[in-house]
Amino acid sequence: MGILEVKGVNKRFGGLQALGDVNLSVAENSVHAIIGPNGAGKSTLLNCLVGKLIPDTGSVMFDGNSVLGRKPHEINQMGISRVFQTPEIFGDLTVMENILIPCFAKRDGSFRMHAFEGVNHETALMEKAENILEDVNMAEKRDMHAASLSRGDKRRLEMAMCLVQEPRLLLLDEPTAGMARADTNNTIDLLKEINQKRDITMCIIEHDMHVVFSLAERITVLAQGTPLVEDTPENIKGNPKVQEAYLGESQH
């Protein structure tokens, strides 16, 4: 039994079958990559995991509990964090505040009226936030407005916001898109380290094969909403079906 078990999930948008009978099992503490051409339904699948979409049929179990029908914030409190394909951050707030908010969410739950204490007095959380900013090399940007960051920095910030919560399952939707090569390599190292040291299971969607092959222990190839194969990176590399799915796409 994996920590995440997706069984028989279908999702239609009008006439479009975005997900067709998807089965997926992610083992605890592993890094599982989902790859596939544009429009394959990768993001839609993640949306079904975090409560943004409800599948038409099928079940999604996280650590033995169903996530279907729960609100996004409840699912996060169960231990699933997500990095979005287009960065979702608090643009009007500073980088530091962006990190502090998930810290509070983790410590205090989904709602707490702490209207009289000062944020500045929360030294333990501040320290935790500083540390994660160091980890993603953004310490010197702590007082910048998040909206003024570069695209790559926004991504790293969002990742830091998820990591600081120490989720049990981290979902990453193209975390390195728009990043410079050096930043991509840093991100790979960071994710590797986090996966090993903090026992965070990761499910990563990525087009950059360098990232996929550096990180993933298992890979699922999705094409037109259906899993084509699921295997180890070595076997995926030589699989003719995978070549076909990608070649088929590149001819467009």
């Binding site: 996060n76 509070f104 009226m113 702490h114 209207a115 009289f116 204490e117």
Partner: protein, 399 residues
């Protein structure tokens, strides 16, 4: 100081000093000088400054932090007033229970209205709050006449005999704080100047200072940060494990309670209330105050409230005769021409002046008066810094 950081403590100290010395500061001109009509240091107006300041601070907690624009906030002002006056009619003429009752009732109404309105966002939220406020107005105006006194509203009458206050037969009870009457004033005349220290003003001012202090604490708290997160990105908030709904609702209730405090204080000052206090124009006014002063800033709403109340009371008093006096030094034709030009902007035309000021502020100072202040501050700051730099560069070669 009081758990505030240096900058906030400085701001709070300035506000304390200004409110306490307001009777002096607002009366800069001698009694019988021509400029005396610009004096704002009379009790009635000073009370209005601080009471509307409270109203605007509360409104800003909702609008400035969460971005939810309530267009019906005057309803809570009215509810607070009606609750307070009933307290005075029935229980005691002491203002404290009345004010507390105003806060509680407005908070409860805030909870109800907020719960329903919060199900929509953006313009629909504004429309829903507006609809609620107009419904409250209609209720107070006609349907609930036995409770609200209908069109004429409620006053304290000679026939009222509050349970815990002894009012002499046939006399109208007066609001007090443990015997200190709201209307009592101490007048100090120095040279040509007359300064009035009014008990009601100081009580309202202390309430305003407490309300202001609490709002600073709220702005700097994790809760305040969450409210700004609501405004910035609710989607991210929800996927970060936070439920944005109770946060917005709590902000709504808190700002309703601020309005209730303001409403209660209004009754404490003039012991009367009418349904027009809930009319939609009153709700619109507080929106203007917040925007004029600076949405989402600490002091902005108070400045905005002060500015609007000043214009409403001072510019509206200027008439053509006064203008003729001012321009008397000019040749007759030009004098008449000047009066003709300015005439639409004074007296009843003060709304026109307000409209123009408002437009100028929104266009040139989107951050309101506070941004204006900051720009001036930066201008001076830059000069200072330039001087300092000039000095340091002058020194370096010598080293």
């Amino acid at each position: 100081m009081l758990g505030l950081n240096k900058k906030d403590a400085g701001l709070f100290t300035i506000v304390i000093v200004l409110t306490m010395l307001a009777p002096f500061i607002l009366n800069p001109f001698p009694e019988n000088s021509e400029l005396a009509q610009f004096n704002a240091g009379y009790p009635d107006l000073m009370q209005r400054f601080v009471i509307f300041g409270i109203f605007a601070i509360g409104f800003n907690i909702l609008f400035g932090l969460t971005g939810y624009l309530s267009f019906g906030h005057a309803a809570f002002l009215g509810v607070g007033s009606y609750a307070a006056i009933w307290m005075m009619k029935l229980l005691t003429l002491n203002v404290i229970p009345a004010i507390i009752m105003g806060i509680i009732f407005a908070g409860l109404c805030g909870g109800g209205v907020g719960f329903v309105a919060r199900s929509r966002s953006g313009i629909y939220f504004s429309i829903l709050t507006l609809a609620f406020a107009q419904m409250s107005y209609a209720l107070a105006y006609s349907v609930l006449t036995p409770i609200t006194g209908g069109e004429t509203g409620l006053q304290i009458k000679a026939t009222d005999s509050p349970l815990m206050s002894s009012v002499p037969e046939g006399e109208i009870g007066r609001a007090n704080l443990f015997g200190l009457e709201m209307g009592s004033s101490y007048e100090l005349s120095v040279g040509g100047w007359l300064f009035t220290f009014n008990a009601g003003y100081y009580i309202a001012a202390v309430c305003m200072l407490i309300a202001f202090y609490l709002s600073i604490r709220l702005f700097r708290s994790p809760f305040g940060m969450m409210l700004r997160a609501v405004k910035s990105n609710q989607q991210r908030m929800n996927y970060t494990g936070l439920n944005s709904k109770p946060y917005t609702l709590a902000a709504f209730v808190i700002s309703g309670m601020y309005a209730g405090l303001a409403g209660g204080l209004m009754v404490a000052m003039d012991t009367q209330v009418g349904p027009e206090r809930m009319f939609w124009t009153a709700s619109g006014e507080v929106v203007l105050m917040a925007i004029l002063g600076g949405v989402g800033t600490l002091i902005g709403p108070v400045l905005g409230a002060g500015m609007i109340k000043y214009m409403e009371n001072i510019i509206s008093k200027i008439n053509d005769n006064i203008l003729h006096q001012w321009f008397a030094f000019m040749p007759d034709g030009i004098e008449d021409f000047m009066v003709f030009i300015i005439h639409p902007f004074i007296g009843k035309g003060w709304h026109l002046t307000l409209g123009i000021v408002f437009m100028l502020v929104v266009i040139f100072l989107p951050g309101g008066l506070v941004e204006g202040g900051q720009r001036i501050g930066r201008l001076f700051g830059r000069k200072k810094r330039a001087e300092a730099e000039a000095e340091s560069t002058a020194k370096t070669p010598a080293e």
